[in-house]
Each structure stands twice: as C-alpha cells, then as structure tokens.
C-alpha cells in the first residue's frame, strides 16, 4: 500500500510545541554530527525571531550558532560554500519573504551546483523559513511561496504541519545530501502535538493520510492541511465523509496516496494558502486529472488565497486567507450539496 503515514511513534511520547520540536531536532542533530552549524539573523543571542533556536548558542557556542548580518544573499551563499566543502549548514531565514533576496543563490547555485559539477560536489544544506499570513504583516511579509521553490528541479521542498513531523522531517532534511527548503508556518509555531520520544526521522517526499473518508479527497498544502482536517470533522455533521491528505512534500509530490484516495472517492478538492493560479494546487489539480481522469465524478476544485497583495486591515486580511468554512463550501459544491442541507 502506497499510503504514507508518519513514522510510528515509539511508546513514549509527549505533547510539545511545534517550535520546541524543531529546536529538539536541531539540538539532537548537532549533538550527533559536529559538521552541522546554524546560521541566520538573530538566531544566537536573541534566540531567533520565532524562538526556535533559543538556548542553542549557549549550548553549542558561536562557531556553530552564527548570528549573521542582515544579508540573506550572503547568508545563503556562505552556507552553499560551506556545504560544498563538507559542512552541513542549517540556515534560518527570518521569513520566506526575505528569501527573495537569496533567490538567485538558491535557484542558480544551491539547486544546480551538484548537477553542474557532474556530481563531484554536493550541497547538503537546509534552509528553514516560516511563511503564511494572518498576523497583519501586510503585503510584503505575508507570502506563501511554496510554489517558488516547488518549481525548481534540484531542490527538495517540504512543509510539515505537526510537531512530530516538524522534528522528524527536520532531522531527515539535515541528513539529506541535497538542499532542502524547509517551509515552516508562522501560525503553527504555537501548535501543540504528540512528539515521539528519542531519535526518529520522518521521510521526506511522502504525503500523509490524515483522515479516511469515502466522499471526497481534500489535499491540503502546509497549514491548509490542518484546516482541511478541521473542515472534514465539521462536515461529518452534514453527513459528508471527507478524506484528508496532508501533502507534506511539495517537491517531489507523493502522488500514490493522492491517486489512491481520489480513485476511491472520485472527487477532489485541493487547498493552499498561497495564490492558486499557477500554484501548488494548480499542479495538484493537473496531476490528479492526468492520473484519475476516468475516476472523477466532479471537476477538481482549487482553493487558494485571494489574488491580491495581502491587505493590512485585519478584516480584509481574514477575508483573503482560505478558512475551513471556505473548504467546506467548496466540498459542498463538489458534491452538489446545498449549503446547510444535510
């Protein structure tokens, strides 16, 4: 069976914050392998803009927890060079919005060097960066740029949505021999969840089946997978039995569990926080259509953020981001149900 599931949790597990799970992954990996170092803005003395690296400077010293100047291109370039020479850098960019300044380094160097050097060097590095809107950070600082990295061959792109996945996938990312774009979500840092005790990894490149159902498959990207799950729970009241797939890996896309699910439910709704035009959901819809055409009982429906620069106004911002209500509405449309009717 192709369905991917999170790594089996060992017997002992604990409720932890997403940010804490990330910190544990960093610390445990740094203990394990001293070629790993962290570099980013305010990650040392300040403990990180989102407190992920708090305490790591004291624990591992300034050689391995490097506070960098505000120069994303230089930070990423430095990390690429270090990775080519045998270290394993883990970059923190304060948010994905600032990665645009480093986009040339990521796209033209990180993603291509191993290929252009005929495999003689590799670039084992991780770039961690949170994205997403909802915090009144306005048009320039509210992006969901999964697609910008998802379209680049040579990169692995993942977006964990649970504390357990955050820890397990960050460990896998650090151990990977190719550059990994590790997309966190500002809105998920304070989410609590069971995290298995001890050392474990969660494979990259695998989607997770979050919920089984028979009427419709909802594929969620990043935080939208969490909302999809909420929507699916509420849809039970309307006698709609939705299956939820958490994409987790944006590049490569793990088609098998999605295809298996859609062939079962014959309906599909895809959801992302970013713009759906040319978005990850556009790719998902196209891929599902190619693989499941003769199984589809309704058009695949896409849901994404409003096609506007993110408004600063709180109400307008709320209106621009997909909600679980929006997901429910689209599921009803796909099933041909009238709103509110059970």
């Amino acid at each position: 069976m192709a369905t991917a599931t999170p790594a089996k949790a060992p017997a002992a597990s604990d409720e932890k914050l997403y940010r804490v799970a990330l910190r544990e992954a960093l610390a445990e990996e740094m203990e394990r392998d001293d070629s790993i170092f962290l570099i980013g803005e305010d990650i040392g003395i300040f403990g990180g803009a989102y407190r992920v690296t708090e305490g790591l400077l004291d624990r591992f010293g300034p050689q391995r927890v490097v506070d960098a100047p505000i120069a994303e291109e230089a930070i990423v370039g430095t990390a690429i060079g270090a990775a080519m020479l045998g270290l394993r850098p883990v970059v923190e960019l304060m948010t994905i919005n600032f990665s645009l300044i480093a986009y040339d380094q990521i796209v033209n160097n990180a993603a291509k060097i191993r290929y252009m050097f005929g495999g003689e060097v590799k670039v084992p590095m991780v770039i961690r960066m949170p994205g997403g809107a909802g915090h009144q950070l306005s048009a320039q600082h509210s992006h969901s740029f999964e697609v910008l990295y998802g379209l680049i061959p040579g990169l692995l792109v993942v977006a964990p949505t649970t504390p357990a996945d955050a820890k397990g996938m960050l460990k896998s990312a650090i151990r990977a021999d190719n550059p990994v774009m590790f997309l966190e979500s500002m809105s998920l840092y304070n989410v609590k969840g069971e995290v298995p005790a001890g050392d474990y990894t969660t494979p990259l490149g695998k989607a997770a089946l979050r919920r089984t159902g028979s009427d419709v498959t909802i594929v969620g990207v990043s935080r939208m997978a969490v909302l999809a799950n909420e929507a699916a729970k509420q849809l039970e009241e309307e006698d709609i039995d939705a299956e939820v797939v958490d994409l987790r890996s944006i590049r490569p896309i793990d088609w098998d569990p999605i295809v298996e699910s859609v062939r079962k439910t014959s309906r599909c709704v895809v959801v992302e926080e970013g713009w759906s035009t040319y978005g990850v959901t556009a790719e998902l819809a196209a891929g599902v259509q190619e693989r499941c055409f003769d199984y589809l009982d309704a058009p695949i429906r896409r849901l994404g953020g409003a096609q506007v620069p993110m408004p600063y106004n709180q109400q307008l911002e709320k209106t621009s981001i997909p909600t679980s209500e929006d997901i429910k509405r689209l599921v009803r449309v796909t099933l041909g149900r009238k709103p509110g009717l059970s």
């Binding site: 759906s276 009982d297 058009p299 695949i300 429906r301 409003a306 209106t319 621009s320 689209l330 449309v333």
Partner: protein, 427 residues
C-alpha cells in the same frame, strides 16, 4: 404566436408534467430545439420547438397540464404577451424598437462581491467539463456507463449543473454506491425511526397501479396454456441470425409477434374489445410488447403496428427500434399507443410459465415462458426436445373458451412449424 399544447403521447395519457424547461421565457428558440422535458404516464420525452421565435412559458415546471392545454407560446422577437397586446393590434405594423416587456438578459452580470476584497473560493473552472455530444456527464459516469452498457442519453443528471454523475449511472444499473447506502440507512441514533420508507410513484407507476387494479377487478378473465415444441423455431432463428442480412437480432418474441398476428387474422374476435356493451372489432393488428424500462421500476408497452402486414425480418427490426425509442424516453408518436393485443415474454429470466394481466381495452395477452430442454415423447420414443409454455389471458366478455383454445392451437401450430412465419404477408 403559435401555441404549444401538451401533446398526447399514449392512449392512456390524460395529462403531462413539464419536468424541466430547457429554455426560459424570452429566450430565442429555433425549430427543432428542445424546449422542455415532458413526463407522461409512460415516458419522459423531449418537447421540441415547431417554429422559430421567442418563447413564452405558460405552465411552469412541475405543474401538470391536461393534454391539448396550451403550455407555452412562440412569438416573434419584440412580440409582447397577448394579454398586453391583443391580436387585432398585432396585425398593424410592429411598432419599431418596441422591446419585449422584460427580456431575460442573455448573461447575468456577475454580482459584485459583498466584501471589499475578493473572497478566495471564486474558482470557476470546469465550465466545459464533461460536455460531449450534448450530454453532460462526469468522466467516471461515462466510464461506468460504458462498462455497464447504459445509454447516457437516457439518464438525467443529478449532479451540479445537471451533470450525470456516478450515482445516476449506478441507480440506472440497479446498484447504488456504498456511500449512498450508508446515507440512506444511517446507523444508530442519527436518524431513528422510519421502518418504512414512503416512495412517491412516478406517473408511469401510478398509471400502472390504477390500470392493473381496474383490469383485474373489472375483467372476467380465464387462462389457456399450451406447450409448444420449439426445436425447429430455435434452429430457424439461428439460421436467420447467421445468414440473413437484417435478421441478426431476430428474437423468439419476434417469432411470436408474427405468429400472433397470423392467428389474430384468423380469429378476429380475439382482436377485439368490449366497450360500453358492444364488441369493437379492430381492423389493424397492432401488437404491444411488455418490456422493462432501462432505468428504475416500471413497464413499457411499445407497439409494433400492422404486424400482420409485415414479414418477420421487418418485425424484428421494427420491434427493436420501437423498444429502444421507448426505453430512451423519446418515443415517436404512436410508439406507445394503439395496441390490440399484447405479448409479455419473461423467458429470458428463466420463468417456466406465468399469467399476465390484460391491458384494457385489449381482450388478450400472451404470457411466454422460457425455452427448456426436456425429454419428450416423439413417435413412441423419448428424445431430447425444446419446449416453451405460453399462457393466454382472455377477457371472457369478448371471446370464449373454445375460441381461446383454437387461437392457442393456431399459435402453437405456427411456432412449431416456423417456416409458416417466413411466408410473406398476404395483402
């Protein structure tokens, strides 16, 4: 402004219902365009425009209308409703530039979103999806229909925008998807009670119920059963299928239609009715064939007209066409009316024999069982043979036991000597 009236589509049709208007009042329509789907007591059929012009709907969908009653009008562009513009005035020159009172806008402008910022789920993908040969069906529905041999054009879509979806195909095929079963039989306390589900009959089912109860309670009937050897008929049928163009699909029922037509000619009293205390002898011999509709429960009786004037191959071709048209819900005029005698063949389901209920005003119906391989005694020896049992239900007011027996003996003789069925019809 020509009226469109509720057409009469069968003998028993008294009123019809517009299931769905395919056009709106104010729409420009062309001759031959489908205006509406109309349900009679027997079938659903398309109502086509017989003139070009602007449609004005008089009877809304879901409202029954007596046959002959006006249900819509087709007028010229700019022509207003007759109540507002009497016919005399119409004779004068059309006032130029006078627009219809309230022309339906060609396309509804998209209403402005209520919020200042566009809300996210505004995707309008898939407008053309599933549209093929004018039938809107999902890819899954198309695949299933092909696998199950169901004609999509005979189905009505229950999905969004009238799309035919999986459930429609499954319902037509007699199976319901698992999800549907789960919904209609929820477990536990979610929907307690209701041991019995109340199901509304469609018009066809309501008509069958009324007419069958009427037939059974008013007709003094009796039955006559014969068993015929059909070895020769079976092998003749095979020969026809193998070697005669046009006869590839000839059925045992076609043989029986021909046999009954010949027997009815010989016994005109069987081809009669009892109407208001008098016999009605019918000149035409029109044979109704009881068949199941392609979807749902019910009964259709498509009619082969003038069966005595047609040869076996003609009957075979025509009966197949008329059955197909009836099953598709698009019968031609006369396809479902005018029968003078009926045949109900349940042989393909393996029944040995059965008794059919007379469909008034006909006086007889032949119920046909399966062809069975049995030991038979021929010239004092037991040999393998093929037999078929046929039971005639008789309206005793119209003819009597001796006639019934002679009629059945004649049918039996013809079926057992099937070469007689190949003789061209006498003029």
């Amino acid at each position: 402004m020509p009226d469109i009236n509720m057409p009469k589509l069968s003998d028993t049709m008294e009123e019809g219902t517009i299931v769905e208007w395919k056009k709106k009042s104010g729409d420009q329509v062309k001759t031959g365009e489908v205006l509406a789907e109309v349900e009679s007591d027997k079938a659903t059929f398309d109502l086509e425009a017989e003139a070009d012009g602007v449609l004005q709907i008089l009877v809304e969908q879901g409202v029954p209308a007596k046959i002959g009653a006006p249900i819509a009008k087709i007028g010229e562009a700019g022509e207003a409703a007759p109540a507002k513009q009497p016919a005399q005035q119409k004779a004068a020159a059309e006032p130029k530039g006078k627009e219809p009172e309230a022309p339906a806008p060609k396309a509804q402008p998209v209403p402005a979103p209520p919020a200042a910022a566009p809300a996210p789920p505004r995707e309008r993908g898939g407008q053309q999806d599933g549209q093929q040969d004018g039938i809107k069906a999902s890819p899954l529905a198309k695949r299933l229909a092909a696998e199950m041999g169901i004609d999509l054009s005979s189905l009505k879509g229950s999905g969004p925008e009238g799309r035919i979806v999986k459930e429609d195909v499954m319902a037509a095929g007699g199976t319901r998807p698992a999800a549907e079963r789960r919904r209609t039989q929820p477990a536990g306390d979610r929907r307690a009670g209701a041991e019995v589900e109340i199901v509304e009959p469609n018009r066809m089912q309501a008509t069958i119920a009324r007419r069958m109860a009427e037939a059974k309670s008013t007709i003094p009937e009796f039955q006559v059963t014969v068993e015929a050897r059909v070895d020769l008929a079976v092998s003749l049928r095979q020969q026809l299928k193998d070697s005669v163009p046009g006869a590839e699909k000839v059925t045992m029922t076609d043989f029986l239609v021909r046999a009954c037509a010949l027997a009815l000619r010989k016994f005109p009293e069987v081809n009669s009715s009892w109407v208001e205390g008098k016999f009605q002898r019918k000149r035409s011999i029109n044979i109704g064939l009881a068949v199941a509709p392609s979807q749902g429960m019910g009964l259709l009786v498509p009619v082969v007209h003038d069966a005595d004037l047609k040869d076996l191959i003609q009957i075979s071709i025509e009966s197949r066409q008329v059955i197909e048209r009836a099953r598709s819900g698009r019968p031609n005029e006369g396809d479902l009316s005018g029968a003078t005698f009926s045949i109900s063949n349940l042989g393909m389901y393996g029944v040995d024999e059965f008794v059919a209920i007379i469909n008034p005003p006909e006086a007889g119906i032949l119920a046909v069982g399966a062809i069975k391989d049995v030991p038979v005694v021929a010239e004092g020896r037991i040999v393998p043979g093929k037999v078929m049992r046929m039971t005639l239900s008789v309206d005793h007011r119209v003819f009597y036991g001796a006639t019934a027996a002679q009629f059945m003996a004649e049918v039996k003789r013809l079926v057992e000597n099937p070469v007689t069925l190949l003789v061209p019809p006498a003029p």
